[in-house]
């Protein structure tokens, strides 16, 4: 019973980290890229210039660090929890990214977009509750 509670606690904690760091990483990348400005690549030097600006942006590095935290949490939780349990939980990241966008980046999220995000979460949840393995592996 005690180990079962521990398993639930660590799974919940890791999923919480995933749902926090994944969308936060995307929000920080967005902030960094908005600071750089609209990307238009016409020549090879243009591409090098943009890549240089990306590499010197602290916010983008924070975003990548946050996405790495997400990825490590994802790998760790998958080492003991079922993919079919973890994947539906990750659906909430779509809702969280809209929240980060609204509160951190002051983006205008229309009611239609909120409804779309909600339906996406439900859709991913439904996908997550199907059997995770359909090919002939033992």
């Amino acid at each position: 019973m005690k180990s079962s509670t521990g398993l639930y606690s660590k799974t919940f904690l890791l999923i919480l980290l995933m749902v926090t760091f994944g969308p936060l990483g995307n929000a920080l990348l967005s902030k960094g890229m908005k600071h750089i400005g609209t990307v238009t690549i016409r020549t090879f030097p243009d591409l090098l210039h943009i890549l240089h600006q990306v590499f010197i942006s602290g916010v983008i590095w924070l975003g990548m660090l946050s996405l790495m935290m997400f990825f490590v949490s994802y790998m760790l939780v998958l080492s003991w929890a079922d993919y079919s349990y973890v994947q539906p939980a990750s659906a909430f990241a779509y809702g969280v990214v809209a929240l980060w966008g609204h509160f951190l980046l002051h983006e205008t999220v229309t009611p239609t977009r909120w409804l779309g995000v909600l339906i996406i979460c439900v859709g991913v949840f439904v996908v997550g509750y199907t059997h995770p393995r359909t090919t002939g592996h033992k």
Binding site: S30, V39, T110, I120, V127, T135
Partner: protein, 125 residues
């Protein structure tokens, strides 16, 4: 607008293609049962010997760069939900490319994702 749609398509197609290639690689490598660091290192080395892994990594880099490009133009609350359409692309790719059997329930979930993405698209200011 055209550039924006092109970037979103690149995120979905290159991202899904990359995941399918990595998934195919991991099916070749075999199921990982031992999660010790030394074994995980061996798994990575084995995966790096599979050609699909390199194609998968290249496509993932392309998808990441396209994501950066899209985020420079559009809001994150628009770009990330729209990329959920990759669930539909992934399901279709899994069926065609990996021979997965997709249940009616999974198709229903994918249909909901598509409806949601359409609403996010329509909900642009």
């Amino acid at each position: 607008m055209l550039w924006e749609i092109l970037l979103l398509l690149m995120i979905v197609i290159a991202g899904t293609g990359g995941e399918l290639c990595i998934s195919r690689t991991m099916k070749t490598v075999g199921e990982v049962r031992d999660f010790s660091p030394i074994n995980l290192f061996r798994v990575i080395v084995r995966a790096m010997h599979v050609g699909w892994m390199w194609i998968g990594l290249l496509l993932s880099i392309v998808a990441f760069l396209a994501l950066l490009g899209a985020l420079s133009i559009e809001n994150v609350s628009f770009v990330v939900p729209v990329t959920a359409i990759s669930y539909a692309a992934g399901t279709l790719g899994g069926k065609i490319f990996l021979g997965e059997r997709v249940s009616l329930q999974r198709w229903a979930g994918v249909a909901l994702v598509c409806i949601g993405v359409t609403l996010v698209f329509l909900g642009r200011k």
